[in-house]
């Protein structure tokens, strides 16, 4: 699973560092997804420099690297919070009340879908099914699962991360 390790305010990435991260893989175009995973894991998102570095290394166009990354919801092209709260809104979660969960999260964090809190701690993303229909409605905070949720449970869950993160 992916980790987010970078503060959204710190947008600078070292080119030599990115190069090392990308070049640990072979130049086969099939390595695009594994490289995107590695970059995302290290920097929290796909930086512009990384997009170009990957394109040059694999001999493809930057537009293709960027387009591929944006196709998958688990890759990000902008800085994310330390904790990414992913809320499933596929039919089973939706029927079980994901909208009320979303409302509770938005009220607690003060940000909407796709946004990051000012302190850089949380990003909220409404996503498609991640296979936790058995415990719907569910969220994932980075790689931890929280299921069978009610809106009342949300403040406690988030404050645990808030304490951990500060």
């Amino acid at each position: 699973m992916l980790e987010t390790t970078q503060c959204p305010n710190c947008k600078k990435t070292d080119v030599a560092d990115i190069r090392d991260c990308v070049r640990q893989f072979g130049r086969d175009q099939g390595n695009l997804i594994p490289i995107l995973h590695a970059v995302q894991k290290k920097y929290g998102y796909l930086t512009a420099d990384a997009t170009e570095e990957i394109a040059d290394w694999l001999g493809i166009h930057a537009s293709e690297v960027y387009g591929t990354a944006t196709f998958y919801t688990l890759f990000s092209t902008k800085p994310l919070g330390k904790y990414v709260v992913r809320l499933c809104d596929s039919p089973p979660c939706h029927i079980e009340g994901s909208l009320s969960i979303q409302k509770a999260i938005e009220e607690d964090l003060g940000v909407g879908n796709g946004e990051t809190t000012e302190d850089g701690l949380f990003t909220l993303e409404v996503v498609s099914c991640f296979g936790l229909c058995g415990v719907a409605p569910a969220i994932m905070v980075n790689d931890e699962v929280h299921g069978n949720l009610t809106p009342e449970m949300i403040p406690a869950i988030l404050s645990k991360y808030r304490k951990e993160g500060n």
Binding site: H61, A62, S63, E64, Y66, G67, T70, F71, T77
Partner: protein, 587 residues
């Protein structure tokens, strides 16, 4: 070749193994509507309009489904008709329908398909994707609100041109075709060739329209408005008026321009001849003096922008000659201005080009003989000229044939063939051969270097020297030659490169569509035009000779360098400030 036999709508047809159902139905004379399909280039089943019933559980796309032995295909039953109709109706629900004022009105593939399928109402009325309107480029405008996501532009930019400026981003309803990092077109390594425009089935990609600027200049009594037309325009303009591809309309075009109110109707062919004299001499100079070889032609602005972005270290290989359109501009505001006794700032130069990249070229800061005054004021595509002629209400096909004005309107057959891939090379060889050997060519037709093949090579004996030449059209073909040069494997003397497949006749500013059949027809017209001209060698153009005698002195002389030659700028592959370094070719 192994054949397979199948039945389509009860009709038996045999096609080579590997054919698709779409190929087979064409062979059987059965029409299947398509939208994303682009013959020999793009078959990805994206638009779902060519759905047919192959007896499987679900309908299949004819453009991707392989024809197989004994297969029974139905292309027209209620299920197929209803599915196709729904597909197009859904497409229309996310398409900004403003057909009456769309640049592609009456030449829109979506409009045609909707008509063919009998769609007469808006069945689905819903949310529209967010509009991205990108007017940053001087050549090409992008409007995502018309885009149907067929991805033809992506394929042509990536595979045919090897530029990769466009790619789909995001997914589902949010999908859009955009440059990397969602940048504006002007900020990425787009070469502005307009091949994307040429294949766009709708009005999502189109040239920046400059027709109003030209009407305004014509109406301005203080402006002396002169026009030049590129050789490829006269081989295609007729298509704008329903004439078959390959109809030569030079005479009608000249008359139309005159009736529109241009003060002088000149010809880019004149400066094409001049290019041959300058470039031919530059080549001989480089061969004699150990200059950078192979020397590469520099007429095609899309090609120039490509090499600046993708192979900046090879810039010294480029001929320093400006393109014929820019040589014309420089001379119009110096030589012609003097001769006609008109101030350069009162002369307004319009170019009619088969090209969208020329719109960018004329704005390059170095293209100006007088500081602050561009040599060429406005570039129009062949399509824009068609539009203006329609606005005039002329019966184009039946216009009397006119002749260009002198002196900048006199030209030769060698200049006309600039419009076809291999033409600049052939024109140069006609001149170089005679200049070097002092003999007259028995046969001016160098047929070995004609044709639509992507890369062509030949060795031509010129006196004691075996001149090795190569020709490429389409930038992915140019790339092959650039890699050869980079790896030290290119022992050519001279390379001609044209950005667009087939050369300018297939340019991004030409009438839509441009298919291989149409390219061949336009090419036929160009060589026919050459055959019909009495003078077929650039160095025999009397007006060019007079220009040297009266004004320029000699090829590669001081004035030539000042007005007819240029320099190039290495550019980054990715957005950042372009480096200010300047590279000159030659010695």
């Amino acid at each position: 070749m192994e054949q397979v036999t199948l039945t389509i709508d009860g009709k038996e047809v045999s096609v080579p193994k590997g054919s698709t159902v779409l190929d087979a139905s064409k062979a059987a004379g059965i029409g299947i509507p398509t939208l994303c399909h682009l013959e020999n280039v793009h078959a990805i089943g994206a638009c779902r309009i060519c759905l047919v019933d192959v007896g499987a559980r679900s309908l299949q796309t004819a453009c991707t489904y392989p024809a197989s032995e004994g297969m029974k295909v139905v292309t027209n039953n209620p299920r197929v008709r209803s599915a196709r109709k729904t597909v197009v109706e859904l497409m229309l629900s996310a398409h900004r329908q403003e057909c009456t004022c769309c640049p592609r009105s009456l030449n829109c593939e979506l409009q045609k398909v909707a008509k063919i399928l009998g769609i007469q109402e808006h069945r689905f009325d819903g949310e529209m994707p967010e509009q991205i309107l990108d007017t940053s480029s001087p050549s090409i405008t992008r409007d995502s609100s018309k885009c149907i996501l067929c991805r033809r532009c992506v394929t042509v930019c990536q595979q045919v041109q090897g530029v990769g400026a466009l790619f789909p981003v995001d997914r589902g309803f949010e999908t859009a075709i955009v440059p990397a990092l969602k940048n504006d077109l002007i900020d990425v390594a787009c070469v502005m060739c307009g091949q994307c425009v040429s294949v766009c089935p709708v009005g999502a990609l189109y040239e920046k329209d400059s027709t109003d600027d030209v009407w305004k200049a014509i109406a301005d009594p203080t402006k002396h408005v002169v026009v030049q037309t590129a050789p490829a325009v006269r081989a295609a303009l007729g298509e704008e008026f329903g004439m078959p591809a390959g109809t030569r309309v030079t005479g009608q075009m000249v008359t139309a321009l005159r009736q529109m109110g241009f003060d002088k109707v000149f010809d880019t062919d004149f400066t094409a001849d001049l290019t041959i004299l300058e470039e031919g001499n530059e080549l001989l100079h480089r061969v004699k003096n150990g200059g950078t070889l192979p020397m590469i032609t520099s007429c095609s602005p899309g090609w120039i922008k490509y090499i600046e972005h993708f192979y900046p270290t090879l810039l010294p290989h480029l001929s320093t000659c400006k393109s014929p359109q820019q040589m014309f501009g420089a001379l119009a505001k110096t030589y012609y201005a003097e001769k006609a006794g008109i101030k350069p700032e009162d002369i307004f130069v319009v170019s009619i080009m088969p090209c969208t990249a020329k719109k960018y070229e004329c704005q390059r800061t170095e293209m100006s003989a007088h500081p602050g005054i561009p040599d060429v004021d406005v570039v129009l595509t062949t399509r824009e000229l068609g539009k203006m002629i329609r606005e005039m209400g002329m019966d184009f096909a039946n216009l009397p044939k006119g002749e260009c004005d002198s002196p900048l309107g006199l030209s030769t057959g060698a200049a006309v063939i600039f419009g076809a891939t291999g033409g600049v090379m052939e024109a140069a060889l006609r001149t170089v051969y005679e200049v070097v050997t002092g003999e007259t060519l028995d046969n001016v037709n160098f047929t070995a270097i004609r044709g639509l093949e992507g890369v062509k090579e030949a060795t031509v004996k010129v006196g004691d020297l075996d001149v090795k030449v190569a020709i490429a059209s389409g930038l992915s073909n140019a790339k092959k030659l650039m890699e050869k040069i980079k790896n030290g494997e290119a022992d050519y003397h001279f390379i001609e490169i044209m950005c667009c497949p087939g050369g300018c006749l297939g340019g991004g500013g030409q009438p839509i569509p441009t298919t291989n059949e149409i390219r061949k027809a336009r090419m036929g017209a160009i060589y026919e035009e050459d055959e019909h001209l009495t003078i077929r060698k650039s160095h025999e153009n009397p007006a060019v000779l007079a220009l040297y005698a009266e004004f320029l002195g000699e090829p590669l002389g001081h004035k030539s360098h000042e007005l007819l030659h240029t320099h190039y700028t290495p550019r980054a592959k990715y957005p950042e400030t372009d480096k200010e370094e300047v590279t000159t070719g030659g010695e």
